[in-house]
């Protein structure tokens, strides 16, 4: 379900780079942390792109830069053809109506001193949407839409469970009628029984409102549940991207293979040939030269080229892979 040919994607990110400052630490100069090191991606209307990877791979930084919570080091991000990164204050305000974010921590992302109703209405207040009574009615509708009772509007966040708070966060994001929602680990702090409720809710809202989601998560099974396409990140770069079913059923990058194989599946059917990577991901402050994954790679063909020459994303069948030897990945 990629955007139909001939129509421009809603979001088009080109060569996004975010380096954190090379600061001198105790007299020694530290190298910059290459959190995001050249990421390109597109997202169509009504589509979900799953951005997956382990901690430190840069996936959260991509999301935060795209919503201008952090300034990029370089790169472009076009929303309907307009570069997000060059927006002035007025344009930025208009942009924030179109793009919203849902955070991982439903406890930390709501102001404890604001009623649920005020928190949901805040965006409408800022953007001067509707009259006060209209906003109040809209808050009630939104609460019901996310599966909560309209009477909750007068209560405070601490009265709610994690799952209910995440629903409140979703209602708050929906209040300004965005086209794109960046979901950063939206279910990873929820219990599984509640996680499933929130995933279903996100799917229903997407269908009803033709929302686009950039869905950032570490859990491949969760991403598979919601994403049309996925992009796998490792040390600040996308190493494989394509249709979710395609990438997960026949991964071509050795890292995707390992990530896929490491998912603890709630099934007694043993995973065939489980691959357990050795070591930890290297630090993004000192990424290995060549292919950043070569220090942990198990591809039988890995060689000198992997240690020196950085593989770029290239098409292979219906997916794109950044591996010199993707054709023969076991």
């Amino acid at each position: 379900m990629t955007a139909p040919a001939g129509t421009a994607p809603l979001l088009d990110v080109r060569d996004l780079v975010k380096h954190y400052g090379a600061r001198a630490l105790l007299g020694r100069s530290a190298p910059p942390v290459r959190a995001v090191d050249g990421v390109s991606l597109t997202l169509g209307r009504g589509e979900t792109l799953g951005l997956v990877g382990e901690s430190g791979c840069g996936k959260t930084t991509v999301g935060r830069t795209l919503i201008r919570l952090q300034e990029p080091t370089s790169g472009r991000a076009l929303l309907d053809g307009t570069d997000i990164f060059t927006l002035g204050p007025d344009a930025l305000r208009a942009f924030r109506r179109r793009v919203q974010m849902i955070f991982q921590d439903p406890y930390g992302s709501l102001n404890p001193r604001m009623t649920v109703g005020d928190a949901i209405a805040e965006g409408m207040d800022i953007h001067h949407i509707g009259t006060k009574p209209q906003r109040r009615r809209r808050v009630a509708t939104l609460l019901e839409e996310v599966g909560l009772d309209a009477s909750y509007a007068s209560r405070y966040p601490h009265e709610f469970s994690g799952g209910q708070r995440q629903r409140i966060g979703i209602a708050r994001a929906l209040a300004v009628e965005p086209e794109l929602i960046i979901c950063d680990e939206p279910v990873s702090s929820l219990d599984v029984s509640v996680q499933a409720q929130v995933l279903n809710l996100l799917s229903d809202l997407q269908r009803a409102r033709r929302l686009s989601y950039l869905f950032i998560a570490h859990d491949l099974a969760v991403v598979r549940q919601v994403a049309d396409r996925i992009a796998v990140m490792y040390l600040g770069r996308i190493v494989e991207t394509g249709a979710a079913d395609r990438v997960l059923s026949a991964p071509r990058h050795p890292y995707t293979v390992a990530l896929r194989s490491a998912v603890p599946e709630a099934s007694m059917t043993p995973a065939a040939g489980r691959i357990v990577l050795s070591g930890d991901p290297p630090s993004p402050a000192a990424p290995p030269p060549g292919c950043a994954f070569h220090t942990r790679c198990f591809h039988p063909k890995r060689d000198e080229r992997c240690r020196t020459e950085r593989p770029e994303l290239r098409p292979l069948g219906s997916v794109q892979v950044a591996c010199h030897y993707a054709e023969s990945t076991p």
Partner: protein, 324 residues
């Protein structure tokens, strides 16, 4: 035959508002056998972690273990042990691995010192011998270049390495039992696989028993021999892991399975459990899962006992099995 660890009717009480008493762990019974892994599985607030702490008599005050609870280590009544005897059990015969190695390790002591300290707490050896033992343990838990890592502080180690150090500390006194409470929850999935393999290898090599406490059914599959599913302070299902995965007998367990997205098979809409886990102050008097259960009927207003669903398979549900 005497079980290595036998727990019968374990109950933990906490004072609650209005002079009430709550029981976050409410009548747990299980047995842990040598060389086997038993998983305690459940969502947050089910009492699984508190059960692990209670086994070491480490319930945080003002909580306390009810006197009627039975905890037997090789047949010996642990409830009657004095503090000194308990110190020999904690970290001695029973080692513990927690979720977050960063907060469980001392930030101002090197990895080597912390392991050596654990060795010396239970063995009368010199500091030098204890450090040599620490180095051997680091090697055993799969840390490359153990002599260098010995001198490093927790912040210099990755999350996976810190968890390996925690496991080395837990192994220091050659325990017969390891209680692992969400040992991989804070770790990346590729590192999680390494740590689970390590625990499994150590269990086999040393013939230890492992009590694996987790919320993740995926971690249990293929790792635990037997499992107990917990809900609202009680065990609601107990059987071999294979039996539970192949034919879950409690509606809660079935609900957990249908809530978990999978990486293989058809992509279908998830079937979540409605509502959320009630706090101990709001547990119903009948079946505690009743208010969320799709199969609830009149009888659920009274509390079911664990009933035989199949040989070796029990579920706390009136619909389980063929008993009248």
């Amino acid at each position: 035959m005497t079980s290595l660890l036998e727990v019968r009717d374990l109950r933990v009480s906490f004072p609650a508002r209005g002079g009430r008493t709550i029981h976050p762990v409410d009548g747990i019974s299980f047995a842990l056998e040598r060389g086997r892994t038993l998983a305690l599985v459940g969502e947050s607030g089910c009492g699984k972690s508190l059960t692990g702490l209670a086994l070491l008599r480490l319930v945080p005050p003002p909580g306390r273990i009810d006197a009627s609870s039975v905890i037997r280590l090789e047949g010996k009544d642990m409830m009657s042990f004095d503090e000194e005897a308990m110190r020999a059990v904690r970290g001695g015969r029973i080692g513990m691995v927690f979720q977050d190695p960063m907060t469980s390790l001392n930030p101002v002591l090197t990895a080597g010192d912390q392991i050596a300290e654990a060795v010396r707490a239970h063995r009368p050896v010199s500091r030098r011998d204890a450090l040599a033992r620490a180095e051997a343990l680091l090697g055993e838990v799969g840390i490359a270049d153990p002599s260098r890592r010995l001198g490093e502080y927790p912040h210099q180690l990755s999350g996976g390495m810190r968890q390996r150090v925690m496991i080395a500390i837990a192994l220091a006194a050659e325990p017969e039992i390891i209680i692992a409470d969400e040992p991989t929850t804070a770790l990346d999935v590729t590192v999680q696989a390494q740590i689970l393999e390590l625990l499994d290898r150590l269990r086999q090599e040393r013939g230890m028993a492992v009590l694996l406490i987790t919320h993740d059914l995926g971690v249990v599959a293929g790792r635990a021999d037997d499992m107990c599913v917990m809900y609202a302070g009680q065990i609601v299902e107990r059987a071999s892991t294979r039996q539970v995965f192949e034919a879950p007998a409690h509606p809660y367990t079935r609900g957990l399975f249908s809530s978990v997205p999978t990486i293989t098979g058809a992509r279908e809409r998830l079937t979540p459990i409605g509502g959320s886990v009630p706090p101990p102050t709001a547990w119903p008097t009948g079946c505690r899962f009743g208010p969320r259960c799709p199969e609830r009927f009149a009888r659920c207003d009274s509390m079911p006992t664990l009933r035989r669903a199949a040989p070796g398979h029990e579920a706390r549900c009136w619909l389980a099995g063929d008993e009248a």
